[in-house]
Symmetry: D2
Subunit: 297 residues, 4 copies
């Protein structure tokens, strides 16, 4: 409804994990001409026979929109291609593209940006799109709830949960947990966010008082990349409670203290890509469509 | 939980409507010494006998926190006092206050700000607090839902609703309507907001396409202070549908067209103050507490 | 989806209030031939010009399905026809129908049943259909929530509600109130229902202990046609709280005590018919379709 | 709130899996004297040192309430004791109990009933309690949702689900899935249940038409112990969709057809006991308390 699908055109979907494979299929389903490279291990189904695998990027037709994976580059400057036997450097790959080629990539670092600029490519980082961040947060929140449901010895519907941090993931965790009947508290620092927490039907807690109340919860989700769950807080966590850390490295809790105290911690990363590749692919597709539409590309 | 109640101190709660009366009671219930003036018509109940009505602001003790209503000033420069026989100019009122007195007021305009500055008063506009805006939005969304439930010839639970605009009120309308089983679409302009709408479980619609789909809904809530609901849109609104305009003046629809076309429009303003004075009072109380806490007042 | 619309045929929609008018329109919209009588005051819109008003039931074509209103009979044995100037006895009306005519009616009492049997008519009471009772309960619960939102001095989203009784309406009130962020308790007598209450995410309370906890709530909905809200309970109800009685006569609370104690009671009856006539009409239409389908009529 | 905890007394908690261990702890936490036997492998924590393990049931004090596990008897007539090295026949166990001893057991079959009757024991099957069935259904629905979230390649929040059957589990699945933003259809045979489905905010589908619409869903939950998901239905299930069968043996789908057609089926049994032993234990505890209260035992 709210995404404008471009007129059929050519896309080259290179490298990547299962998300990238799903993305290739979804582009094909939207009647685009799709070329793939370096993600062959996960063969495309019969239904996708319109997808053409090329032997080398130099075989890609001119005028393709090139889609690099999320992240685009693996350590060492190689195209990230965990499903493939191919090993190709980003430089070699970019050398095959004509100046002006639109290149969509996820988590662009300085090297890639420079390399693309040198070759006159139109590089855009879809991972910086806010709409992708929101949709990813929704998928992450759902995956985290599933992890909790599985790992808690109680049901969420009869338990009390604390969500530390009220950013994108914190907001959507709060809504999802409430949707399952869980009694939810969420923490924030700003008055404004505390008001939002209550407007979402949860109990608002100042982040600085989390250590005082950690004993009240059956499950604690951390979404803040800072040591909110310090030793003091972890000491109070109930036996049988589970702490799920969703903050990217270095994470938001004192892991040494957690280990010593025997707190049950689950470090949940890369959630949407792993557990929901079709949705994760569709989220990237939507952002690419938006980039093309806005850029008149 | 998240609001720090100040140690007992003196408050002067002046003028105002029912919200202000409720606020006086709530301050008294928190063990503060409360003085009132110019809101006497709505007598305080026996339970509130600790509240002292003064005959003139000059009788207020030194050191009070003075709380003016929302809005503070009525047309002509008078204290806004719809429940009272008293007519006192803001200037006369402020003249009675010692320099340095903290004065909390809602919707402060230039005249009041100047008058307070001249007298060395510490004026703060609680209506500019974001946490108040959020809590008011929650109350407004609920009131709007009640208006819809009453005025629609269908139940919300079996109907389709369109929320135009995804600011504070739009977000909370979307959640509340979904909570009643309504099928909700919401409109926004930014991709990011469109992603939030879907993450909230509603259908996302670009605001620019609202005119094309207005015929699909049993109720349309406008929250945008701009002519999104133009004649084109109104022409398509279904017979039996209701349009509820929540945007402050000049509102967000073409009223002339609506009248001509016979569209059933409800202009719903000042919602939380009118329908939920206790909650509206408590929202002001919380912001005042936050202001005092932050300011070290 | 789940209702089988009959092939176009003739219906006679007689008497009744706005629901009945809506029902006539909905039948016409499903391409049936619709005749009306004794509900002329509320003229059918231009869009419904296929609806034919007859001057007397004797003018109805043979083979119609006759639909009497809910309730079918007014005091004195007249067709219930509050929108009409017509005054016709049920006996006179039934005399015009050929034996074997299917007659759908709501709230059939002994007299009507006997009169129909004597004339060999196939009378069915659609008000006895369980699916109608459920759908009506949904509409009633929503209307009761709107009444609460309007009449409480607090918002539902910040308040605590008690639902007395966990039948159809009690269940749907509990879900709807929770959907608006209200903290809900519900009472029941059976262990099984107490378990359902908790499974619905609310707090379960034994009905016999309602009198002990009445002071904890901002709003109390009674759905039980028995004196659960006795004087003891009413004495504890908070000042500012509202009691909404949804139980049919004689209602579920001690009205004399309530008046004496100054408890704010709202007696909310006939809700869905009054506030949502289109939905109320559609509910009757669906049941009539189900009756025709099942009966092979 | 709604459960009356008995005065401290003695319980013997015998055999069983993790649920039974949790139950023992919960009884101890309610200040009862707790004896255990045949569930020693899962040692009780330091906090539970009041729990006394006995070497043989003959060492149990007179007057205990004896609690057998769910199910009570393993194949061959042995006490079900998967966590223990002990192998004791139910007969030998019951021989140690004095006539009149209250024995709570789950899933009582004819043999156990006979054996208890012969010895004059007061045997009650807590698994027949309706409140236990409801609470178990809530836990099962939540576990099934977690299984779906994990196994689907899409997020539930962006997907369409079909719940086949609208009994206890079907109702709670519908509510939980909706709480996560999933678009839910549910099927039933009775008009009344179809009306409930819509009142719960889902789309109602006649069970007999499930085969026609199976292609519309990303996940299908079967709760009906009958072949609703026949070959015809399975043939239409989308590639990438998942079918989760919650019906007890023999299950509700044509497994041979599913295997042949390559449909991704998950047979999810014994859910609450496995994934939420604390909640599962508490559910049994509550029913035992209710049995004791009602029986005046």
């Amino acid at each position: 409804m709210n995404i404008v699908t471009p007129e059929p055109r050519a896309f080259a979907v290179l490298g990547g994990d299962l998300r990238q494979v799903c993305l290739a299929r979804q582009l094909a389903a939207d009647r685009h001409e799709v070329f793939t490279y370096a993600n062959e291990a996960r063969e495309h189904s019969a239904a996708d026979k319109s997808i053409k695998e090329v032997a080398h990027p130099s075989a890609l037709p001119k005028g393709c929109v090139v889609v690099l994976p999320l992240p685009a580059v693996a350590e060492g400057g190689w195209l990230s291609a965990p499903l493939s036997k191919v090993k190709i450097s980003i430089d070699e790959l970019l050398d095959t593209l004509a100046p002006g080629t639109p290149v969509m990539a996820g988590m662009v670092k300085g090297d890639l940006a420079r390399a693309a600029a040198e070759r006159g490519l139109r590089l855009v980082d879809y991972f910086e799109r806010e709409e992708l961040a929101v949709a990813n947060a929704a998928a992450t929140a759902e995956a985290a709830i599933a992890i909790a449901a599985e790992n808690l010895p109680v049901t969420l519907g009869t338990s009390r949960a604390l969500v530390v941090g009220f950013g994108r993931i914190g907001k959507l965790l709060t809504l999802g947990l409430r949707g399952l009947g869980c009694r939810v508290s969420a923490s924030a620092r700003k008055y404004e966010d505390l008001a939002w927490i209550e407007a979402f039907g949860a109990r608002a807690v100042r982040t600085e008082s989390v250590a005082d109340i950690a004993q009240d919860y059956d499950v604690i989700f951390n979404t803040v990349p800072a040591r909110v769950l310090c030793r003091d807080a972890l000491e109070r966590v109930k036996r049988d409670a589970v702490v799920i850390d969703l903050a990217s490295k270095p994470g938001g809790l004192d892991f040494d203290a957690a280990r010593e105290l025997g707190v049950n911690v689950i470090w949940a990363l890369s959630l949407p890509g792993k557990t929901s590749p079709i949705t994760a692919g569709a989220i990237i597709r939507d952002s690419i469509y938006n980039i093309l539409y806005d850029g008149g590309i």
